[in-house]
């Protein structure tokens, strides 16, 4: 049954099979409508895909979760984003690591992070880094609350999340 299949009857002999050293089948080319799949070209395409994907692979993963309506500003001189506490401004609300806060409670939460750091790593200098994730359209008067809260809590290093140009 298998030997009588349409594909078997109509396919060309594979170039690999024809060149085979163990079972050489040269000069047994059949004329047909469908050509056999060229495996070399397929492997070439797969290899190129793997190389491209490996080059664009990021081991840090998704540091920020960007909501559908949020658009980050664009910058060409941006640096690599590290894992730090993330303060997010989304639709007029302030979040610290997805916890909804106000400008006042943000200070106490940031102070808690600082306190926890000194307990967990005694003797180590506190770097005070915070990532700020906000929509490109928000006004500075809103962003100012975050900057002031971070300054009050001793977070001097602000990292504004941007999309690379």
């Amino acid at each position: 049954m298998l030997n009588q299949s349409v594909l078997k009857m109509t396919s060309l002999q594979s170039p690999l099979l024809a060149a085979s050293a163990l079972k050489p089948k040269q000069n047994v080319w059949k004329k047909g409508l469908a050509a056999d799949l060229l495996l070399t070209a397929l492997i070439d395409a797969f290899s190129i895909l793997v190389i491209f994907l490996l080059m664009s692979f990021s081991s840090t993963g998704e540091i920020l979760f960007i909501n559908k309506g949020m658009e980050l500003p664009k910058a060409s001189r941006a640096e690599v984003l590290d894992r730090n506490p993330v303060v997010k401004i989304d639709e007029g609300k302030i979040y610290l690591e997805d916890k909804l806060l106000t400008a006042e409670t943000l200070i106490s939460e940031l102070l808690d992070i600082r306190k926890k750091f000194s307990i967990d790593r005694p003797g180590e200098e506190f770097r005070g880094i915070v990532t700020v994730q906000a929509d490109r359209r928000i006004k500075y008067e809103f962003l100012n609350q975050i900057i002031l809260a971070c300054a009050h809590a001793g977070f001097s290093d602000l990292r504004f999340a941007v999309t690379m140009k």
Partner: protein, 151 residues
Amino acid sequence: MKKEKKHLDFELNLIPFIDLLSVCICFLLITAVWMNVGSVNVKQAIGGQSAAETEKKPTLWVFLADDGGLTLETRDSSRMPASLQKYSLKGQEGKTDLKQLLVQLQEMKRAEPELRTALIQPKPQTSYEEIINLMDSFKTAGMADLGVVPL
């Protein structure tokens, strides 16, 4: 007795190789991060040292206007010529002329190579994007230490 000649060539089984590549492609496609996110770093002053104790470094103050214009003012610089110490840039359709700003910053950097600090003072209605664009221009001009002045 004549020995039969062995074939040195062998057939490479390509099926496991294709399987491996397919699995690799699937894994990389699923774990790929398509959006390239970076950060613009800003170092804010949080106090601790008095103004008298702080080392005086050439600093560029940037005052933004509501119409997109801005004023550049260099402080604590002995090498900066008087003509460049205070410079005003007009806005274009409510936005800052970033090309003209870059030209001006490069001229300032030539006059004062030690100029590496810029403090931006936005207006309450200045958009976040505009501030980031300014910071990007300053970074392009070689100013590494940036700060934003709170309202």
